[in-house]
């Protein structure tokens, strides 16, 4: 039915899943299409650090056999996916993109990987990232930096750079990222895909290399809200190995198919995200405002909200650097030469005082309480995902890039679910993301609003041309 490789690789999970279930699409054929595509394009994109060619075909063959025998496991059965290289994978190197862990081959799967395996997903490989999930990628790291498929000279975002790049370029059907200060939503925004950071505590961190224990959140990156929901369904929920998931509900993350948004109230914190933001590019502002207008036209009420404590979002940086230093202290002393430029940021964490850390945690509580009050009055918040589109690799203004994460980090501090969806392109053809934030545990509402937005727009359907000059 689907002969052309590109068409296969750009099927949605929803579409591919139905075809596989009905035995109209072979998981082996689908997996081989992705492996061919990785071979053709990843020499430019560097999105994978490990491609699991043999085991992926083996896994797809097993899926095909199971399904033919009536043992259909889940909507992810036979679906080719990939994982950021900080998810422990049994017998497969897990490096966190660092020489410090270059020889690390775990003897167990992280909980999220276990759950995806149980769901029957086919693991294509491990994906590039910023070293230890911090920084923006650098040539001094263990592997080359992943590139943005919309323009190879631009960042794909960080830290889930390979996840953003591979998912956008059709080198996997969906991927796993992780988000401590915006590392799922930033790359989703820069690469024109949909990435959700779930509520803190919804998805297990067991077996995931930490950046900051009290902030790290695992989540899916996909090409639509509907597909992200299908991934989340497989990985969410309590895990005895991670006590932070103790309150996680058993929920349904299939998107609701709503006809309109009547009765929903959308909060827009204009003072923090739109007004007097010197680095907010006009095209980003215009695209997100257009997105808000689309939601309003679907029947939602728009209300301006004020969250003054957001100006203390630096608390995220203080907590992240302090906790990261605690994790890396021993290696920073013993083998400094094995770290790339991220080492300098970790060292800054060693200079923060306990009183800085405690004050940051208090500020975190203040931000969380204020956001909680606002979320009692509205259903979701809408903001730009990032003030600007993907910077060039040779733009070394680290301060500007780092400051852009202030649009994402408040929702790491508060733990609220937040998702980036594509909402436009700038004058240079670089993608723009719109952030949808929900109340605690209300991922389904966030996903469903993202879905109705995507049913009424085409931004998420745009594909990068991958028309590289010397491509054979």
């Amino acid at each position: 039915m689907y002969k052309h490789e590109e068409e296969l690789c750009f099927l949605s999970i929803k579409e591919a899943s139905a075809l596989i279930r009905d035995k109209d699409l072979s998981p082996v054929e689908l997996t081989k299409a992705f492996l061919n595509r990785i071979e053709s394009y990843d020499q430019y994109l560097h999105s994978y650090v490990t491609v699991l060619k043999e085991s992926a075909i083996k896994s797809a063959t097993a899926a095909e056999k199971d399904i033919s025998q009536g043992n259909y496991k889940s909507p992810l059965h036979g679906i080719p996916i990939a994982a950021k290289d900080l998810y422990s994978t049994e017998g497969i190197k897990t490096t966190a993109h660092s020489r410090v862990m270059a020889d690390n081959t775990p003897t167990f799967d992280s909980t999220v990987i276990q759950r995806l395996n149980s769901a029957g997903a086919v693991m294509l490989g491990k994906l590039a990232m910023s070293e230890f999930a911090l920084g923006r990628g650098d040539e001094k790291e263990l592997f080359p930096s992943a590139r943005n498929p919309w323009n190879l000279e631009h960042l794909p975002g960080s830290s889930s750079s390979g996840s953003g790049s591979a998912t956008s370029a059709g080198l996997c059907m969906a991927s796993l990222g992780s988000d401590t200060g915006g590392s799922i939503r930033g790359p989703a925004s820069f690469c024109n895909i949909t990435g959700i950071k779930p509520s803190l505590g919804l998805v297990s961190n067991h077996g995931v290399v930490p950046l900051a224990w009290t902030l790290d959140t695992c989540g899916p990156m996909a090409r639509s809200a509907e597909d992200a929901g299908m991934m989340l369904q497989a990985i969410a929920g309590k895990d005895e190995s991670d006590p932070s998931t103790n309150n996680a509900p058993s929920d349904n993350y299939d998107v609701e198919h709503m006809n309109d948004l009547k009765g929903l109230t959308i909060g827009v914190p204009r003072d923090f995200f739109f007004e007097n933001q010197q680095d907010l590019e006009p095209k980003v502002s215009a695209s997100v405002n257009q997105g808000i207008k689309t939601l309003e036209n679907l029947g939602a009420q728009i209300r301006e909200v004020h969250i003054p404590s957001l100006k203390y979002t630096v608390a995220n940086t203080v907590i992240m650097l302090s906790e990261a230093y605690a994790f890396h202290e021993e290696n920073l002393r013993a083998r400094p030469q094995d770290y790339g430029p991220v080492r300098r940021q970790f060292l800054l964490g060693g200079l923060l005082r306990s009183s800085d850390y405690v004050q940051a945690q208090r500020a975190r509580k203040a931000i969380s309480l204020e956001l909680s009050k606002v979320m009692d009055e509205v259903d979701i918040l809408i903001t730009p995902s990032f003030p600007f589109t993907a910077p060039r690799f040779d733009d070394r203004d680290q301060a500007r890039y780092g400051a852009g994460f202030r649009f994402l980090a408040p929702f790491n501090l508060s733990g609220l679910p937040a998702m980036s969806v594509p909402c436009g392109f700038d004058e240079n053809g670089l993608p723009i993301g719109m952030q949808i934030v929900g109340n605690f545990w209300e991922e389904r509402k966030v996903l469903s609003i993202g879905h109705i937005y995507q049913q009424n727009t085409n931004w998420h359907r745009k594909r990068p041309s991958l028309d590289f000059p010397d491509l054979k």
Partner: protein, 71 residues
Amino acid sequence: MQNSDGTLLDLDGFHHLVKQANLNISDEEINKLYKAYLPLEKQVRLLHQMDLGDLSTSTAFLANKTKNDTK
């Protein structure tokens, strides 16, 4: 992270701070680190100026809400 009189640390003070923290890095690296440290110090200072009353940290950073709490 700042001097007791509230001024930002100068480079000499920063060298002292790094030595105290026992980070085990060279003088050249300390100078580079100082450039990254100053903007962070300014922001952390703002954080300490927040009026947080008697707000505790408790364990608010953990997901301590249940699904019913948001209904």
